[in-house]
Each structure stands twice: as structure tokens, then as C-alpha cells.
């Protein structure tokens, strides 16, 4: 299964609506980097509103998505992290440093607009 990636101007939007097994997560990582390369996107919003679990593997993949995208010139904002997920991440000792977050998709887009001035 693949996670759909939508293009909106210079940005890419992803709303994760399926269970994130390891394969889906890795496939998403590859697909997103490929799309950034193809489109020259400068910003990415990954919406996690429907994600009810982030374990250490998914956290690692998401952290890598952020730093790899950064290397390719695209800023990533993670949005909609559920309270329960934020709590379990802290229990796991995972702090996702240097990762930009926002409350929802709309705020995530605003954050990109502010930072990138586009």
C-alpha cells in the first residue's frame, strides 16, 4: 500500500490515513524524496491526525524523512500529532529534535508560508 502525496503549489501534502507498518513507512520515505526531487517542492506537510501509534521504528523513519527532505531543500512540518501519541513518544525517550510541528494541516501550511515567505 502507498500513501498518496498531493501537490499544492510549491508544497507537498500528505495525510497519513492508513496503518503504518514498516514497509509502508519505508515506501513513503522513498516516494516522498522522489516527489521532492521531481517537483522541486520547498515545503512538505505530513498530517498525522489519523495515526494512533508511533513506535520507535516509525519515529526513526519520520525523523529521517525530515532530515533527508531538508538535505534536498524542502522543509517538513508534522501536524496533528495526537495527545496520546505525543505522550508515548516521550515515554519512549524520543524527542524528535529539530522537527517542526503544528496543530493541524492549515497551521502547518501557515508555518511554511511564514518560514519560506512564499
Amino acid at each position: 500500500m502507498r500513501i498518496p502525496i498531493l501537490k499544492l503549489g510549491n508544497y507537498l501534502l500528505i495525510s497519513i490515513q492508513m496503518e503504518l507498518d514498516d514497509k509502508t513507512a519505508i515506501q513513503f520515505q522513498e516516494d516522498l524524496l522522489q516527489r521532492i526531487h521531481e517537483t522541486g517542492a520547498t515545503g512538505v506537510v505530513v498530517d498525522l491526525t489519523s495515526v494512533d501509534i508511533i513506535d520507535s521504528f516509525i519515529a526513526k523513519v519520520l525523523g529521517e524523512v525530515v532530515s533527508m527532505s531538508d538535505l534536498m531543500g524542502a522543509k517538513v512540518v508534522l501536524t496533528g500529532i495526537q495527545p496520546a501519541v505525543a505522550i508515548t513518544l516521550i515515554d519512549l525517550g524520543i524527542h524528535l529534535q529539530n522537527v517542526q510541528t503544528a496543530l493541524d494541516l492549515e497551521q502547518g501550511l501557515m508555518k511554511l508560508h511564514q518560514e519560506l515567505g512564499e
Partner: protein
């Protein structure tokens, strides 16, 4: 719901199956969303460890009912290579697979009780309990 149920861990997708089943059992027992997420995350970590390091094993769920105590016990057991130095694998960041090394110490923090027994060449048993409050 049966007091004992288990799920075999052989394929990567079994990790998802185990955490979904565990969350469902936790929800039926009356755990709130945050504890459901803690339990599902803990199961995901120990099930992935079976898949990655032992290849084959199982996760068992037991509901515990005492006088004024109700809880969920999760047991992950495998016949894999075992762990030579338990205190080392319980350190945050220790990994032999390029992971985050957050799994076992994380499970200990996510759950109320935690125990790990392992014998090199024999296998590993991780037991964790969450109490309903």
C-alpha cells in the same frame, strides 16, 4: 474475551496484528486512550524485537483480575538467540541493528511492571503489566 489469547510473530505484518489486538483487548478492559496507546506501542516494540532478532515467537495477552485490581499482562516469548548482557540492552540508545535502541527501555517506561528473562541460545521472555486505574 478469553483471558488468554496470543498471536504468533513471523511476518512483519504480525507486528501490526499484535498491537491492534492488544489495543482492542485494552479498550474492552476499560483502559483510556492514552493507556491504550502506551500498551499498543509497547506491544509493537516487543513484537518487532521478536521479528528482527528471533524471527519467530509469540505475544500472549492475559487479563489479570484480583480483588480490587484489574490489568493486562503481555508476554513476548521467543526461542531466538537470547541476550547475553541484559543491563546493556536496557540502556537507552543501545542497539545492534541501527535502530533507536528505545524499544526495551521504552517498554519499561510505558508499562507499570516489566521483566526480562533471557538465555543465550535458548530465547527471551519479556513480561509487562499495565494496571487499570
Amino acid at each position: 474475551m478469553e483471558p488468554h489469547s496470543f498471536i504468533g510473530i513471523k511476518k512483519e505484518w504480525d507486528i501490526v496484528g499484535a498491537r491492534q489486538l492488544g489495543r482492542e483487548i485494552a479498550r474492552k478492559l476499560g483502559f483510556g486512550t492514552v493507556d491504550q496507546a502506551r500498551i499498543a506501542t509497547a506491544i509493537s516494540e516487543i513484537a518487532r524485537n521478536i521479528y528482527l532478532y528471533a524471527e519467530d515467537g509469540k505475544v500472549t495477552f492475559e487479563t489479570i483480575e484480583g480483588m480490587n485490581h484489574k490489568g493486562l499482562r503481555i508476554i513476548a516469548s521467543d526461542n531466538g538467540p537470547g541476550i547475553d548482557n541484559i543491563s546493556q540492552v536496557m540502556e537507552d540508545g543501545y542497539t545492534t541493528s541501527g535502530g533507536l535502541g528505545a524499544g526495551l527501555p521504552g517498554v519499561k517506561r510505558l508499562m507499570d511492571e516489566f521483566d526480562i528473562q533471557s538465555e543465550v541460545g535458548k530465547g527471551t521472555i519479556v513480561t509487562a503489566v499495565k494496571w487499570l486505574r
